[in-house]
């Protein structure tokens, strides 16, 4: 978590999923775009919504709600896509509502607290307590791990034709 306080100076980009506020390190965020048409990609997990054309670049978009097993909701005017830059690859994440940049103090940050069973602990790097609210800081690396995204059907072994 040194990264958060050294490089990002404790700055988070926070957003809502349902009523809960989540945050990602500011340095991981590239830009925010409004909801746009997403072209589905077959053989991918349910949270992988597909790909968008971001000024000529094709980038995958995932739905955090589905990823976190929250019920799906139709997009509203507030729904937006945060483009994150992760390991040289851009990925879009769909969130319900963008709040903005929040700065947190190291003392108010608590690393990976105990979670109830319905949320996966590896997605969370910690919780930040602010005056009036609590922000869940995401561990994007685990949320976006490429392995989980493609669901290739198991067929018989390949044979050369």
């Amino acid at each position: 978590m040194n990264d958060l306080f050294e490089n990002s100076e404790g700055k988070l980009l926070t957003f809502l999923l349902g009523t809960q506020e989540y945050g990602i390190k500011i340095l991981e965020a590239r830009e925010v775009v409004g909801m746009m048409h997403i072209d589905p990609v077959p053989h991918t997990s349910d949270f992988m919504k597909g790909v968008i054309n971001l000024r000529g670049k094709i980038i995958p978009v995932i739905d955090l709600r589905t990823k976190f097993k929250m019920p799906e909701v139709p997009p509203t005017n507030e729904t937006c896509i945060i483009v994150v830059d992760f390991g040289n690859a851009f990925t879009g994440i769909i969130v319900d509502f963008l709040i903005g940049v929040t700065r947190i103090e190291e003392v108010s940050f608590e690393e990976t607290p105990q979670m109830s069973a319905n949320i996966r602990a590896e997605f969370i790097s910690g919780m930040a307590k602010l005056e009036d609210r609590v922000v869940i800081v995401l561990e994007l690396k685990n949320v976006l791990s490429a392995k989980a995204m493609v669901s290739i059907p198991t067929n018989q072994p390949e044979i050369a034709l």
């Binding site: 048409h37 072209d39 589905p40 990609v41 077959p42 053989h43 991918t44 992988m48 597909g50 790909v51 968008i52 054309n53 000529g56 670049k57 094709i58 980038i59 995958p60 390991g87 690859a89 990925t91 490429a146 995204m149 493609v150 290739i152 059907p153 067929n155 018989q156 390949e158 044979i159 050369a160 034709l161």
Partner: protein
């Protein structure tokens, strides 16, 4: 004569050293503390011997320490380095025995012999710098050259120069009298020597210098060119190339974890495991042998260098033309003939003229700038087609507007073609490297093989040039090793003793076809079949065509070589070749006839970034099928469709051929408008000899598309090879018929 006390002291050290050397194993080199202890011992022993007035003994102990250090630093290979180390140690031990016996003279003789022995042992003492001086290179990389373009430039120039030298050497092999070639080679090494000296890269410089020395003699007519000389120079060229690629690797992986080994006088050394030490000894030996070998010099040693061979001839008109043709091979083809005929009369030219002209005509541009340019132009083409397809614009009845748009379209297309052509280079670059390899291969295998080359002026994209060498090399290796028979076998079946391998390239519509054709024994159908059975790739009953069986050669683990040689035969390789070719969006196939020969055919797109695609709709989804893969499209008639087992309309009969139908919506698990083939449109795609019918809802249009990578997230997505931005700005996925077919469920077909 030494006293008992001295002998006792020596004996203690000797015993300790003997123990250590005897127990030294390659794996000990991982343990720096262990080696460090031996190094300390050697150093103490050396100063002890110095103290007893035995400088020779001290010297050899230091040498032992030096050697050990080299092994630790991965400058010498473990096995042979250790062996040599032990040999020297044995000599030392023998000498010590003699010293005990009071035979100082003989003892020193042994030591001197050990130190001087040219062949194995201590050639290294004088040539320690010849054995790949890493520290030097690294020192430069880290201290001065980080971010310095001089080094990068030097590397680029030297690579270019060496490749040119290699090509020229091979030409010289055909014609020893080619004075122009000789002076061109001379100049390459001269330049390398000079620049290396300037940059302080003494390792490179000294090898180049030695080579230059030899070339001076040839250039000045002091000696005749011989095969031996050519070999020595080729060997030196190899050595220099290796050093250069090592430098590149080091600059690339500058993660110099600096290790100080055992606190000893070893230099700071980087730990770069991928880099193998370069052994320059063979090159030096060949060169030194020739340079010291006065006998082989031609008898008429001229006192003065013949002035006309090196005097500068002013650049002639034809020379300029020649340079022009070299720089613009595609533009100057018709010039070549005239310039050739007029240059024949001129004996020798200095390359300064050539170099000067080239500097004026050529610009060196970092490759990424071109890549950016081609990406932008791709975007522009797409953006323009989005604009043209815009309904508001399309419905406007403004004639002038449409004319202007058409014009803009045309200009953009021309611009794109021009930009793409900048990236095009003749395959010659690759072919000439292969020529060189072929020479070595045929020597190594003991077979006589002649390589003929056709169409090496064919232009292809730089990406292809960069990636096609390795696969071609692999095919060549296989060809020489398995395809071509031994001279005896060839004689027995009435073929000429010398085998022929034909390497050719030519354009075929929108693609380029590269062929490697040999006149060897051909593929063994039966053996491939039994290997495939053995590996469970097919079942006994399957009825396969010859072509299908021969394609097994591209399957991992199937090698028909009876025994594994150091050239090939491990059964890995041809599958890698196939993968590499496919990465370039190419196809590979094989034709073979028993006893007559085999041909590998590689079909590659002219450029890898823009392809012609057919855009199809499947429900909400749009897919692009590369035109190259499309055989035809049709709306099937009822009587063309046949049921298979309990499934209706499983295949299509087209001109007597059974074509399985693939329901794309099922494969991709997406919603489609049309669920039955009778109402759908079928796109018949071809993969190798097989045809498949893909069921789609609608054909939208045909368009040029910029192929984009879908990124790490979607690697190995079955059936899909990439994405593109379509005319309306949305994303279309590019279908990959090959993985589609492989993954499809219908493999065994029987008609009800």
């Amino acid at each position: 004569m030494m006293d008992a006390e001295q002998q006792n002291q020596i004996q203690i050290k000797r015993d300790a050293l003997n123990m250590d050397v005897m127990s030294l194993r390659p794996e000990h080199f991982q343990d720096l503390a262990h080696v460090g202890a031996i190094l300390t011992e050697l150093e103490e022993f050396a100063s002890l011997m110095d103290g007893f007035g035995q400088p020779q003994f001290s010297k050899i102990l230091k040498e032992l320490g030096h050697r050990l250090g080299q092994i630790v630093a991965e400058l010498s290979p473990y096995e042979s380095g250790l062996e040599e180390f032990q040999q020297i140690h044995e000599q030392f031990d023998n000498a010590l025995e003699l010293l005990y016996a009071g035979d100082q003279e003989d003892a020193e003789k042994i030591l001197i012999h050990a130190l001087d022995s040219k062949s194995t042992a201590l050639k290294n003492l004088e040539s320690q710098d010849h054995y790949s001086n890493y520290a030097e290179i690294i020192q430069h990389c880290t201290e001065e050259m980080k971010g310095d373009e001089t080094l990068a430039e030097f590397i680029g120039e030297t690579e270019e120069g060496l490749q040119k030298a290699e090509e020229t050497l091979l030409r010289l092999e055909e014609d020893f009298e080619d004075q122009k070639a000789i002076s061109s080679i001379f100049r390459v090494f001269h330049t390398i020597k000079g620049t290396a000296g300037f940059l302080g890269l003494s390792e490179l410089g000294s090898l180049a210098h030695r080579t230059e020395d030899l070339m001076v003699q040839v250039n000045e007519g002091e000696r005749e060119i011989t095969l031996e000389i050519l070999n020595a120079i080729l060997c030196a060229t190899d050595g220099l190339s290796k050093l250069i690629s090592q430098m590149k690797a080091m600059i690339a992986g500058m993660n110099s974890e600096v290790q100080l080994i055992g606190g000893h006088s070893l230099r700071y050394l980087p730990h770069i495991s991928e880099v193998e030490p370069v052994d320059l000894r063979e090159a030096y030996q060949l060169l030194d042998h020739l340079l010291s070998d006065e006998v082989s010099k031609s008898t008429q040693v001229s006192e003065n260098p013949t002035p006309e061979t090196i005097s500068a001839t002013p650049p002639t008109h034809s020379e300029e033309q020649k340079t022009l043709t070299e720089t613009h091979p595609e533009a100057g083809q018709n010039l070549t003939n005239t310039s050739k005929s007029s240059t024949t009369t001129e004996v020798a030219k200095t390359n300064e003229n050539v170099a000067a002209t080239q500097v004026m005509d050529m610009l060196k541009i970092p490759a990424f700038k071109l890549d950016e340019l081609s990406e932008f132009i791709g975007e522009m083409v797409v953006a323009l087609s989005v604009l043209s397809q815009n309904p508001t614009i399309a419905n406007l009845e403004d004639r002038e507007l449409h004319d202007r748009l058409d014009q803009l379209n045309k200009i953009t297309e021309q611009l794109r073609d021009r930009i793409l052509s900048i990236r095009m280079f003749p395959v010659k670059n690759v072919f000439s490297k292969l020529t060189r390899q072929m020479r070595d291969l045929s020597k190594k295998s003991g077979k006589q093989v002649k390589l003929t080359i056709q169409g090496d002026e064919t232009l292809v994209d730089k990406t292809i040039i960069d990636s096609i060498y390795a696969p071609l090399m692999h095919i060549m290796r296989n060809t020489v090793d398995h395809g071509i028979e031994t001279p005896e076998e060839r004689k027995a079946v009435g073929k000429p003793q010398e085998g022929t391998v034909q390497l050719s390239a030519h354009h075929l519509g929108d693609s380029i076809l590269i062929e490697v054709r040999d006149d060897g024994r051909g593929l063994d159908r039966q053996k491939l079949l039994s290997k495939a059975l053995e590996r469970g790739l097919i079942s006994e009953r399957e009825n396969l065509t010859d072509q299908q069986i021969f394609m097994f050669i591209f399957t991992s683990g199937v090698s028909t070589a009876k025994e594994v040689t150091d050239i090939s035969g491990r059964g890995v390789g041809m599958d890698v070749v196939k993968r590499e070719v496919e990465k370039l969006r190419g196809k590979i196939s094989v034709e073979t006839e028993t006893g007559k020969g085999t041909a590998f055919l590689i079909k590659l797109p002219l450029t890898t970034s823009i392809i012609e695609g057919l855009v199809v709709r499947l429900g909400e989804n749009r897919f692009v099928i590369p035109i190259l893969d499309v055989h035809l499209t049709l709306i099937p008639k009822k009587d063309q469709l046949y049921d298979v087992q309990d499934r209706e309309s499983e295949c299509l009969i087209l001109a007597g051929e059974v074509i399985p139908i693939m329901r794309l919506h099922e494969f991709f698990d997406v919603e489609a408008d049309v669920m039955v083939p009778e109402e759908a449109i079928i796109v018949v795609v071809k993969y190798g000899e097989k045809k498949y019918g893909l069921m789609v809802d609608e054909l939208l249009h045909r368009q040029q598309i910029v192929v984009k990578n879908l990124g790490e997230t979607f690697v190995n997505l079955p059936g899909i090879t990439g994405g593109t931005i379509l005319g309306d700005g949305r994303v279309g996925l590019i279908l990959d018929p090959e993985t589609l077919i492989h993954r499809s469920h219908n493999i065994n077909m029987t008609i009800n």
